[in-house]
């Protein structure tokens, strides 16, 4: 009986994750066939993760709000490119260049997102096809803007960026910047508009300094609030203050300063740091829980005297919670130890040393993961979930459905815009007229590979999907070369895969939606459940 349950569970797991499992097989086979060293593959996959992670995560919010896969991602990417163009035109380098791009692009992306959301509200149920067509439609206006408006209507003189006639932008924008004469009359030259790697190659020392300054500013604001008696200092503020002071003083030591001039870590170091942080955090939790337990134990006697019935209803529950919490912490600690132990296996160690992690970019990706989860806990996030579940119910419970959907689109478009900026600073060049075209296509394919559907997508799906999809992307040409003696076949194959996986996911979604009523009946009769799963499996 138990065995049967396991088999059933396993079968349903395979069935639920069939796209992902298929991809695991396909990717593994391609890696073996390609014969490329794992160090190379892992290195480029992690590089691609840094580039594409943000864009794929930008897809999650519209799925939550029931708008399906946002093919309108392209429009956010366009906004990003417009912002970047003007930053380079103004000749701003590095981080300020990225900030200016963001400042220009974000309002544009919000506007576009609002417009797309409004349009989607007129085409409920057809958002995906509308988004796809809208992407092409917007591309027309984008080309119009870059080919004729820039230089034609808005006078621009910039030899490096503009076409020889002065009207229209060149095919390629170089983020390594353009040589410009100095204005001081010395006849010297300087490079302006160097934005490549602004985030990827940000020295870690600068990053820590920036975070420290941000924490200090935050504490000052808190201090003002305390003085105005609107809040009180807590344990967290104290911890933050100590951490900021320690990091600031550490940064003053020349040796550490020198050490922190590097701009990326290898994966081994990153993983070790992350594991240490997690371990310390969990230990702190354990200690905290222990202290709390003791204190409550003493308090409980007092409470018991006051009202026994209250304790009877609460204390077992609380005890259980604490127990499971500490158990979880212990488990995580154990897991950390196991993972750390695994890094001592020689091949894994070598591979991990080859992987470079651009720290700031990865932090941004982690930030957007956190944002998506945080959003779910807010009121608007809950509204989105309700709207995604059923617009009728949402409407009945007083949620402004249209407004919620528009907000979801605006968030997604702005994230797409930032994602494209991150992508471009990592890549180093912009193909002015084609860079944005495939953005939605590849991001959606990656998300679906990770096991997401049109109705449900999580950060976990996104992360798994990016790794699987981009592993295949890296090795496909070489695998094609080994199999057919032609690397072009591999390239076409990966494009086919990216289209095919979307076609498959959409078809399965539509199919599932269609057989849903039958499933409802079969749940009652119980017998035809098997038949239905058989039908579904035969796909």
């Amino acid at each position: 009986m138990k065995n049967n349950g396991w088999v059933k569970k396993f079968r349903s797991f395979v069935f639920e994750n069939k796209v992902m499992l298929l991809f695991v097989v396909l990717t593994t086979a391609s890696i073996i066939i390609s014969g490329l060293p794992l160090t190379v593959i892992a290195g480029s996959v992690f590089e691609r993760f840094g580039r594409n992670g943000f864009l794929v995560l930008a897809l999650l919010v519209p799925v939550l709000a029931g708008l399906g896969l946002n093919f309108g991602l392209v429009i956010g990417a366009m906004a990003g490119q417009i912002g970047l163009f003007f930053a380079i035109l103004a000749g701003i380098n590095g981080i300020p260049g990225m900030l200016v791009s963001t400042l220009i692009a974000t309002p544009l992306a919000m506007l576009f997102g609002w417009m797309v959301g409004r349009l989607f509200n007129r085409m409920k149920g057809a958002e995906m096809i509308a988004g796809l067509i809208l992407g092409f439609f917007a591309d027309g206006f984008y080309q119009l803007f870059f080919l004729f408006v820039l230089g034609g209507v808005i006078p621009i003189t910039h030899e490096g960026l503009m076409l020889p006639g002065g009207i229209g932008v060149k095919n390629m924008i170089d983020l390594k910047g353009y040589r410009m004469p100095l204005n001081d009359g010395s006849g010297g030259e300087t490079v302006k508009g160097f934005i490549e790697g602004a985030f990827d190659k940000l020295p870690i020392g600068d990053l820590i300094t920036a975070i420290t300054i941000a924490v200090i500013v935050y504490l000052l604001v808190r201090g003002v609030m305390v003085m105005m008696k609107k809040s009180t200092f807590g344990l967290r503020d104290l911890a933050l203050g100590i951490a900021a002071a320690v990091s600031f003083s550490l940064l003053q030591i020349p040796a550490i300063k020198q050490l922190l001039k590097i701009n990326n870590l290898n994966f081994l170091t990153t993983l070790t740091i992350v594991l240490i942080v997690i371990a310390v955090w969990q230990m702190a939790r354990l200690v905290y829980a222990f202290i709390l337990h003791k204190r409550e134990g003493t308090e409980k006697t007092d409470v018991e005297v006051k009202s026994p019935s209250d304790v009877l209803s609460q204390s077992p529950d609380q005890k259980f919670l604490q127990k499971s919490d500490s158990r979880r912490s212990l488990l995580i600690l154990l897991l950390c130890a196991v993972i750390y132990g695994l890094t001592y296996i020689p091949p894994i160690r070598t591979i991990m040393r080859f992987i470079r992690i651009p720290v700031f970019t990865y932090m941004l990706i982690a930030g957007v993961c956190y944002f998506t989860r945080w959003l779910l806990r807010t009121r608007i996030g809950q509204n989105m979930r309700t709207v995604g579940h059923s617009q009728v119910i949402a409407n009945a419970s007083g949620i402004n459905v249209d407004r919620t959907r528009v907000i979801a689109m605006m968030i997604s478009t702005v994230l797409a815009c930032w994602g494209q900026l991150i992508f471009l600073q990592s890549l180093g060049t912009v193909a002015t007229y084609t860079q944005h075209v495939q953005v939605a296509q590849f991001s959606i394919a990656a998300l679906l590979v990770g096991g997401a559907t049109v109705q449900k997508a999580t950060t976990k799906n996104a992360i798994i999907g990016i790794f699987l999809f981009h592993s295949l992307f890296v090795v496909a040409p070489e695998a094609g070369k080994q199999l057919f003696n032609d690397s072009q076949i591999g390239e076409h194959f990966r494009v086919f895969i990216s289209y095919g996986v979307i076609a498959l996911a959409l078809a399965m979604h539509a199919w599932k939606a269609k057989i849903k009523p039958n499933l409802g009946i079969s749940a009652v009769t119980g017998k035809s459940d098997k038949d239905n799963s058989k039908i579904a499996e035969s796909s």
């Binding site: 085409m123 409920k124 149920g125 096809i129 439609f137 076409h492 086919f496 076609a503 539509a510 269609k514």
Partner: protein
């Protein structure tokens, strides 16, 4: 006032705007000193060249699968037929241009019929989301065909890259096989008596009689089909599924039939297109062709639910007319400009968006 409103409603606002734009372009080309006979020849040629691909939309819309973005499937079948025909005609002396055209059509139609039925089966399972699914099926098929073009074991020098010895070229010249048989006077003049009238010049204006005949034939076939019992049943299936079911007609079978006919017309359409154009374009060239066909029939006045042959003729004329006149006009005004291409992108996708918003919006209100 209400009379003008009624007039606009009857023609449809987008059709009116695009029609006026077309007329303005033609009028503008006179003072710009463009050769009017060449302009009109080009309009005529492109109109008929695209018309069968646009016609392929009609059975799809009528049978209820809505806009068939997956007509790329038929296009790939047609291209497979055409490449095989070129291979055969260049390897065997006995296969003349007409035989080549026949082979291309037969292979294309047979393949399209088989795949069209399978495609119809798929679309029956995804009712309600046909458009998204068909778009991505279309894209996938083009990507798959890219692999096919690289691996086909053809030997003809006209087809394959000269150096690698394998893999078809991006663009294949049809001069040696069936190019221009129906539309190019320089080709038809070498043909025997009745065939040399398939295309001729009258004072600079080229009249492609062959193309007109083919389009008329295909249109007639589609028209007859929709007069037949099966065709009427199909239209009914597309219009009201429940009612049709009650009348004892198998809606699913009708949809498969419509999809298959649409796919077959796509195959025929691309072969006729290629023979008029004079070249076969492989790889990603046909990727967005289905969008042009969809936009054309929508400009012609069709909705996502109803389409007529008159919509095909008007839509193809307006869409391709604008494309063929905008190019020389804009080139006169600003040389080497990409403007016509940009206009094509905006017009074709704008009209599809407009049509989608109309139907879905109406659908919502009914609820």
């Amino acid at each position: 006032m209400s009379k003008t409103k009624h007039f606009i409603d009857q023609i449809g606002l987008p059709r009116l705007i695009i029609g006026l734009f077309f007329i303005i372009l033609i009028i503008a080309s006179v003072p710009l000193g463009l050769p009017m006979d060449a302009v009109f020849s080009d309009i005529l040629r492109r109109w008929l060249m695209y018309s069968i691909l646009v016609l392929a939309m009609v059975p799809g819309i009528q049978c209820g699968i809505s806009l068939n973005f997956g007509v790329s499937l038929g296009i790939v079948c047609g291209l497979l037929g055409a490449t095989t025909a070129v291979e055969l005609s260049s390897q065997n002396e006995g296969v003349g241009p007409w035989a080549a055209l026949g082979i291309a059509l037969v292979i294309g139609v047979v393949l399209a019929a088989v795949l069209g039925v399978l495609y119809g089966l798929l679309l029956n399972r995804v009712k309600g989301s046909e458009m998204t699914v068909s778009t991505y099926v279309g894209f996938s098929i083009i990507a798959l065909s890219n692999i096919i073009w690289l691996t086909l074991p053809f030997k003809s020098g006209e087809l394959i890259w000269p150096l690698q010895g394998i893999g078809l070229r991006n663009v294949i010249n049809l001069e040696g096989s069936f190019g221009g048989l129906l539309s190019d006077p320089t080709v038809t003049s070498t043909q025997p008596f009745p065939l040399n009238y398939l295309a001729f010049d009258i004072g600079g204006l080229t009249i492609p009689i062959g193309l007109i005949l083919v389009f008329a034939l295909c249109s007639f076939f589609v028209w007859i089909f929709f007069q037949s019992k099966a065709g009427v049943a199909m239209s009914a299936a597309g219009e009201n599924e429940l009612f049709t079911k009650a009348a004892g007609i198998s809606v699913d079978r009708m949809r498969i039939l419509g999809t298959a006919v649409s796919t077959i017309l796509g195959a025929v359409g691309i072969i006729i297109y290629a023979q008029t154009f004079g070249f076969l374009q492989l790889y990603n060239a046909p990727l967005m062709m289905s969008f042009q066909a969809v936009a054309s029939i929508l400009i012609g006045g069709a909705s996502t639910m109803r389409a007529k042959i008159s919509h095909v003729a008007i839509g193809a004329l307006l869409f391709q007319g604008i494309m063929s006149t905008a190019l020389p006009v804009v080139n006169k005004l600003m040389p080497n400009s990409m403007l016509p291409e940009v206009v094509r992108i905006i017009v074709s996708n704008g009209i599809i968006l407009y049509a989608l918003s109309k139907t879905r919006g109406g659908h919502q209100h009914e609820k």
